[in-house]
């Protein structure tokens, strides 16, 4: 069976700001599930999705300690997708816009995420079957 062509996604929203982020991750998950290699270009606030210092916390309003709250962290979502890709012998190429990273001071990322720029995005789009832009509104 022919392997599906890669898909490229552009994400732009910062973590904890929009449900577009959750939807985007659901699409990434579905793409991997369907056997696509996935390229992600994280632009503007989305570069913070992979920031390694995101931390869980207790939530007094919910009445839960840190462990029970199990607060979602986008860096863990990315790590889970990278792991899923590996187990399916697929590739996730996650590139953060370097200038956007510098502006925000979020250079410390989880492993498996690399720094790049618009030329990387262009190359990703050129080698993909299609590109979906999920922009900030």
């Amino acid at each position: 069976m022919t392997k599906p062509q890669p898909l490229t996604f552009v994400l732009m929203d910062a973590p904890f700001e929009s449900d577009r982020t959750t939807t985007a991750f659901r699409l990434l998950e579905a793409a991997l599930e369907q056997g696509h290699d996935v390229n992600v270009f994280a632009y503007e606030g989305a570069v913070a999705l992979s920031f390694a210092r995101q931390a869980r916390h207790p939530n007094a309003v919910h009445g839960r300690n840190e462990a029970d709250e199990a607060h979602p962290l986008a860096r863990e979502w990315i790590a889970a997708l990278l792991q899923k890709a590996e187990t399916k012998s697929l590739k996730v190429d996650w590139v953060n816009c370097g200038l956007c990273v510098d502006e925000r001071g979020v250079a410390e990322t989880i492993s498996g995420v690399r720094r790049g720029g618009p030329p990387d995005f262009w190359a990703m789009a050129e080698r993909a079957a299609n590109t979906l832009v999920i922009a900030t509104r």
Binding site: F16, D19, T21, F25, E29, V61, L81, K84
Partner: protein
């Protein structure tokens, strides 16, 4: 000072935050003694629909353990003495039957909003 929290932007990162941030801060301020009321308008009227369930989010091996429970969060605000209102016209426009709403939420017609707002010396629109 009695303050009305008007919530209009709905489902804004609720899955990531495991709640609605405005409802969360309303709970937190109420816990600190604030006198608050909540008015749901626009898409946020959906928060009043009982029985909504957004559990099951999963990415690879990561599974959400504590999905947002928006109806429970509203109900507990009511239990804390926070008045919760919703704009009836916004429900009708979205085809949401009043029978589907959680108990305790007061409906207000859009035409009567000015009278309701007059009751509150301070209003914050989110």
């Amino acid at each position: 000072m009695l303050t009305l929290q008007i919530i209009e932007t709905a489902y804004r990162a609720t899955l990531e935050e495991q709640d609605d941030p405005v409802m969360w801060i309303t709970h937190a301020m109420r816990g600190a003694g604030a006198e608050l009321a909540v008015l749901l308008r626009g898409n946020a009227v959906s928060y009043a629909v009982a029985g909504q369930d957004c559990s099951g989010l999963q990415f690879g091996a990561w599974k959400q353990a504590q999905p947002p429970r928006l109806v429970a969060d509203l109900s507990s605000l009511l239990a804390k003495g926070v008045e919760v209102l919703a704009v009836e016209d916004d429900l009708v426009e979205r085809g949401i039957a009043t029978a589907s709403l959680t108990e305790g939420i007061q409906l207000v017609a859009r035409a009567k909003l000015a009278e309701v707002l007059e009751r509150f010396p301070r209003i914050w629109h989110w």
